[in-house]
Amino acid sequence: MTDQTSPAELVRRSLKRRYRKERRFRAYGILAIVIALSALLVLFADIISKGYTGFIKTTITLDVTLDPEVMYLEDPTDPDELSMADFTAPIVRALQEELPDAQDKTAERELARMVGTYAPNRIRDLLKDSPELLGTTQTMTFLAHDRVSVYVKHADNDMYSIRLSEQQIEWVDQLREQGIIDTAFNDVLFSTGDSREPTNAGILGAIVGSLLTLVVTLVIAFPVGVAAAVYLEEFAPRNRLTDFIEVNINNLAAVPSIIFGLLGLAVFIGLFGMPRSVPLVGGLVLALMTLPTIIISSRAAIKSVPPSIREAAEGIGASKMQVVLHHVVPLAMPGMMTGSIIGMAQALGETAPLLLIGMVAFIVDVPEGFLDSATALPVQIYLWASSAEQGFIELASAGIMVLLTFLFTMNALAIWLRKRLERRW
């Protein structure tokens, strides 16, 4: 080997360097993904570790004797008497049965604060529906008081402060050993609306509110968005006006969502006099916000329809209209739907515009129509996250998990639709 090195030799020498570079480059990429994934994992771990207890409720199961004398109730069919009666007393009595040493007045007061605020109401409702049960002994399961619940679930967690007296803690421990205080899956969360009491608060109202809002958004934004996209892409002449429209659609997509909320407040509520806090207005506002996304993604979908298909249809003599309706739109539909679902997912997670149009109100009832006052999932989470009671912390996390589940489902649906429908060409 003289100074005349063969090309093969040169290649071999440079190979090592090239491979090293390649490995380094790959390492950077993997590092980036690891960082992103770990951030996501930390987020999830945090939310799940904080929130999973939101799916657990603490119950107290007691044999309650519905003694008329204790309740000062003679006739459960009389509304006046029903409203005057003392339904806390039978619960306290039942607890005293289990805790024989708690007999004085102070103890009674503390015992009463161990069951949820709405526990007496359950007895009232039971007697109102079935007056014949007066005087009998019923096995009833009550929700524990928020403080008891916090103690049961978070006794060894520094983030929570236990607000029970020494005496109460002793009782709770005792009752737990007896199996009277127990934990179960929190079905309350999915069956009621909001409440001042963390143990009684549910997310169903927010879910239904969100769904109603999204239905309005979809019904308005999808047809309008697709029609606008089809017109702009297929029929509109290319001139300054359409250029202007195009630029503005792209700008709209970048407008902060709170602006849409202001717009909704000013136009729908202020100008048209629509009611506040209703899914209809929320849906309209979110539809405005989602429109640019749908238009842009639909136009992209239309653009991606192979020109050969268009030519084929034109070549046979299909009119512009037929080309669009028979070929372009059906072929672009998967893309349009994907874009719309992603837009919907965006709308689902939107809080700011809803705050402005009053969907942030405290609403206990599950909405039943588009004109019922309602709130939405992200707003509910926001409300809970800013509440004082400790029980709401875990509810907020649980709410986030529910919201994320919805978002994942919608995104998965988008991916599935694309995979499913796009295979056709």
Binding site: S308, I309, E311, A312, E314, G315, I316, G317, Q322
Partner: protein
């Protein structure tokens, strides 16, 4: 033979005066002189009568003063190097250029003596009479049956399902595809092989009973066997249709066409009987192109 009477010389000249952008003189580009089209561009039995056709893309002139007759039931092939305007010219014949905004077509283009670019003329009707087959097989992502039935459906050619069935069957038979697909008419057309897809596209084009079929490099995406099938099909179809075919393969032009037109930089250099073009072309440029001397 070579000097058939130019039936509309007078009117053509009048027309050209109003178009100062087109020089009527002998043009020189890259030192090559373009005169009048040599050979026999005119026919007594014209289906298409094309006179002084100029096509512009914005400022660029893609077609320069082309006059040509396309006779009934003839197969004429357009050959020439890439960018010579042959496809552009073909697309003028069924106004496929309409959808390109910057494209403007001047001159007289007549189908059976009626100007196809008259604003009153409906382009949909024109395309029903002048079908087209494209370079890349482009069946719709629908079933084989629906592909063929699409044209008759939108033009209302069949009143009953049985009539439509007949049209589909006969079109597929004419396209030589019936035997291969008759048991799977409901399967997607995109599932066929490339050659079958192209024959499906031909079936789709002839299902609306056009008078002229334009083919834009119909075999460029196909293997030799599929190409041979299509070529065979073209000669069969020439019994009942006028066929205009753009091709990059000179051998293909030699095999399938009656007349061959050679395009160069937007000019129609020579039109002659195919036999003549491939043995003794009259124009230097034609000769250079078909003998593989361009460069």
């Amino acid at each position: 033979m070579t000097n058939l009477k130019h039936p509309i010389t007078a009117s053509a000249e009048v027309k050209s005066e109003s178009k100062p952008t087109v020089d009527q003189e002998v043009r020189t580009e890259e030192g090559i002189a373009y005169g009048k089209t040599v050979g026999k561009p005119y026919s007594d039995n014209a289906k298409f009568t094309l006179r002084d056709v100029n096509v512009f893309y914005s400022d660029v002139q893609a077609i320069k003063n082309i006059s040509l007759d396309i006779a009934k039931n003839e197969v004429i092939s357009f050959i020439g190097p890439s960018g010579c305007g042959k496809s552009t010219f073909l697309r003028c014949l069924n106004r496929m250029n309409d959808s390109i905004d910057i494209c403007s077509v001047q001159g007289r283009l007549e189908l059976d003596g009626v100007d196809i670019y008259q604003s009153k003329r409906d382009v949909v009707e024109l395309r029903a009479r002048v079908g087209m087959v494209f370079q890349k097989p482009n069946p719709f992502p629908k079933s084989i049956y629906d592909n063929v039935a699409y044209g008759p459906r939108i033009h209302g050619l069949a009143n009953r399902k049985s009539e439509l069935d007949d049209i589909v069957e006969s079109s597929l038979k004419k396209a030589g595809l019936w035997k291969e697909v008759k048991d799977r008419l409901a399967t997607p057309g995109t599932g066929l092989s490339g050659g079958q897809q192209q024959r499906l596209c031909i079936a789709r084009a002839i299902a609306v009973s056009p008078e002229v079929v334009l083919m834009d490099e119909p075999c460029s995406a196909l293997d030799p066997i599929a190409t041979a099938r299509i070529e065979e099909l073209i000669s069969e179809l020439s019994q009942s249709y006028t066929i205009v075919i753009v091709t990059h393969s000179m051998q293909q032009a030699a095999r399938v066409s009656h007349r061959t037109a050679y395009f160069h930089l937007g000019h129609l250099v020579e039109v002659n009987d195919t036999d003549k073009v491939f043995t003794t072309p009259e124009h230097e440029l034609t000769e250079s192109y078909i003998t593989g001397r361009f460069g």
